[in-house]
């Protein structure tokens, strides 16, 4: 096998996959630019792992194509794809030392001894594991095993790097460190990377762009801010971040009549009569605003930097509000009024 040509663009076009009656992938199309880190975010069963397996070659799609750097790889076996992958549970070779693990992909490519030595040292230095060459995987902590898996996946200059929920087993602090480290390494090497996660916070920290998946279909592909501020539909709005989602109809320019009664002023220019969704992020509420909501506090939590309130509105609707922790925490059972400006409301 020849040496890898390095990072490249990934193009997925109309890829479908069924398992019996279950549609795992519903004609998915996606483009990941060279050097970009794209996160596929979705709940379990959304098809994100199947998509990754199709890209890695462990699953053959029923239709559609996968191209890397312009070349079709849809029916190529995994061994010929030059794709580095980090598995959920690392999948290190338990009987091989750290060094032998990292050297493995180079040996498979018949790289010379001296060159292997050099590149393994470089890769281990990059993940800050120099000096651990002779250890066995079981003698390492979870975070260190993770780094070995990462070194092994990048040592052969793969065309793509795939990461399948790699930090699931790590504790929160280590997870955050590893997230930043992966991001730094990915930028430095200019690696085209797909990162899979069900954790929306992780997706926001890491990504250039996020593709939100549900039920085998991509719901929206956009930058992190776009996904958060301007979600395309209910699912995205609900899955990413905390949200208040209402439905209604545009009753006049800049006004939406909500289905449960009442109306809100918005900045949207959707034509009158359009059925729309209205998203209000909890942290965008203040004490006053062009739109006021009054209700009974049914839950109030002190979270250090903020208060988290749940208000019962008329028409058995609820509103989630986060406010900076100042003054006294409104007690449950008391009445409260909050406001939000039209430009803080997203209409979709």
């Amino acid at each position: 096998m020849s040496e890898s040509k390095g990072s490249a663009e990934l193009l997925i076009e109309g890829v479908g996959k069924r398992f019996g009656d279950v549609v795992a992938l519903d004609r998915v199309s996606l483009r990941v630019a060279k050097g970009e880190l794209l996160t596929i975010l979705g709940p379990s069963g959304s098809g994100k792992t199947t998509l990754l397996k199709v890209v890695a070659g462990f699953e053959t799609p029923d239709g559609g194509s996968v191209k890397v750097g312009g070349a079709e790889i849809t029916s190529l076996p995994p061994a010929k794809r030059d794709i580095g992958m980090v598995f959920q549970n690392y999948a290190l070779f338990p009987h091989l030392t750290v060094k032998a693990n990292v050297a493995f992909p180079l040996e498979m490519r018949n790289v010379g001894r001296a060159e292997i030595e050099k590149r393994v040292s470089e890769a281990l230095a990059m993940v800050e594991l120099a000096g651990y060459e002779a250890r066995l995987p079981r003698q390492l902590s979870g975070g260190q095993q993770q780094r070995v898996a990462l070194a092994r996946a990048i040592v052969f200059n793969p065309r793509l790097l795939l990461l399948d929920e790699p930090f699931g087993a790590l504790d929160r602090k280590l997870r955050e460190t590893m997230q930043l480290e992966v991001r730094r390494l990915q930028r430095r090497l200019g690696l085209t990377t797909i990162f899979i996660t069900h954790d929306q916070e992780e997706a926001l920290v890491l990504s250039d762009r996020i593709a939100v998946m549900n039920k085998g279909a991509i719901q929206q592909v956009a930058t992190t801010t776009e996904i958060y501020e301007h979600p395309a539909n209910d699912f995205v709005a609900d899955f990413v971040g905390e949200s208040n989602i209402f439905h209604g109809t545009v009753s006049a320019p800049g006004t939406v009549a909500l289905d449960g009664g009442g109306s809100v002023k918005v900045t949207s220019d959707k034509p009158v009569g359009t059925k729309v969704g209205v998203l209000m992020r909890p942290e965008r509420f203040g004490a006053t605003g062009a739109n006021l909501f009054a209700g009974e506090v049914i839950e109030s939590v002190y979270l250090g930097t903020s208060f988290k309130l749940r208000l019962a509105l008329e028409g058995s609707r609820e509103l989630l509000v986060r406010q900076p922790a100042r003054g006294t925490l409104p007690a449950a059972g008391s009445r409260a009024t909050v406001g939000i400006e039209p430009d803080a409301i997203h209409v979709f």
């Binding site: 076996p77 995994p78 992958m85 999948a91 009987h95």
Partner: protein
């Protein structure tokens, strides 16, 4: 030895049984072999060419049986561990059913199949593949075929267990990193299932060393393994001391094999 007092009493019946019907007879047998305070019988067993030949024969057959069981058993155990549950169940039925059938019945079945006018030879002659029947019974070949068949499950099951224990993501990772199926087998599967291979080989080899029924029937007196020799000494020659000495030799040989295998059964990591 018995660190837990509570553990001793429930085990007592089994211990008594072991002592009365295993340890005592073994010691008694060893006593036979040195009757009259002499090691003459051992000198005969280990000094005379004929008996050394038998001993060598036994080891050779045991080794070959182990080898063939491994060659047949590894692919089968591997397939059973990696196929769909339905096929795995079918595999288990085919592996276990013979194991639950009497060795005697299976050996007689082989006699019917392998004989001069047996099923195999008739087919071979009828279809003109050979002009004369191939001798497959009452010789080395027959013993080998019968023993491999009888002992195959002991190889398949440990290998199946070892393959099942490997996380399927590990060979998948190797493939993703550029390894061909061949290299995945040599670099990943084999080292990770070596414990199962060792366990299967030791089981089959040790069982082969002391095997009696199959070599006695399929060997027809012409292939003498040590267990057959011992039986002859007990039943026909009525030479109990010599039979005891031969048994002791078999016991020591078995124990040696087991000890050596134990040392190797925890393979050191590569490099």
């Amino acid at each position: 030895m018995f660190s837990s007092r509570n553990g001793f009493w429930p085990a007592l019946p089994a211990l008594v049984l072991l002592f009365a019907f295993f340890l005592f007879p073994v010691v008694r047998m060893l006593g036979f072999s040195v009757e009259g305070g002499t090691f003459d019988w051992y000198a005969k067993a280990l000094g005379q060419g004929l008996y050394i030949r038998v001993l060598w024969n036994t080891f050779e057959i045991a080794l070959l049986v182990t080898l063939f069981c491994l060659l047949l058993g590894y692919p089968l155990g591997f397939l059973m561990a990696t196929t769909t549950p339905g096929w795995a169940t079918l595999g288990f039925i085919f592996v276990l059913l013979p194991l639950w059938t009497s060795v005697l019945v299976r050996t007689y079945a082989w006699m019917v199949l392998l004989g001069r006018n047996g099923v195999f030879n008739r087919l071979l002659v009828e279809y003109g593949i050979t002009s004369d029947p191939i001798p497959m019974l009452h010789n080395f070949t027959g013993v080998l075929i019968g023993m491999v068949h009888v002992l195959l499950p002991y190889m398949v099951l440990p290998i199946y267990g070892a393959v099942r224990k490997v996380d399927p993501a590990i060979p998948a990772a190797a493939a993703g990193l550029g390894a061909s199926s061949w290299r995945i087998f040599w670099r990943i599967w084999l080292p990770l299932t070596l414990n199962g291979v060792f366990a299967g080989c030791v089981l089959v080899f040790i069982l082969s060393l002391g095997f009696y029924i199959t070599p006695a029937l399929l060997g027809g007196g012409r292939v003498i393994m040590i267990a057959v020799l011992i039986e002859q000494q007990v039943r026909e020659a009525l030479n109990w001391p010599f039979a005891a000495a031969l048994s002791a030799v078999l016991l020591v040989a078995t124990f040696l094999v087991y000890t050596i295998a134990q040392r190797f059964s925890q393979p050191e990591p590569a490099r």
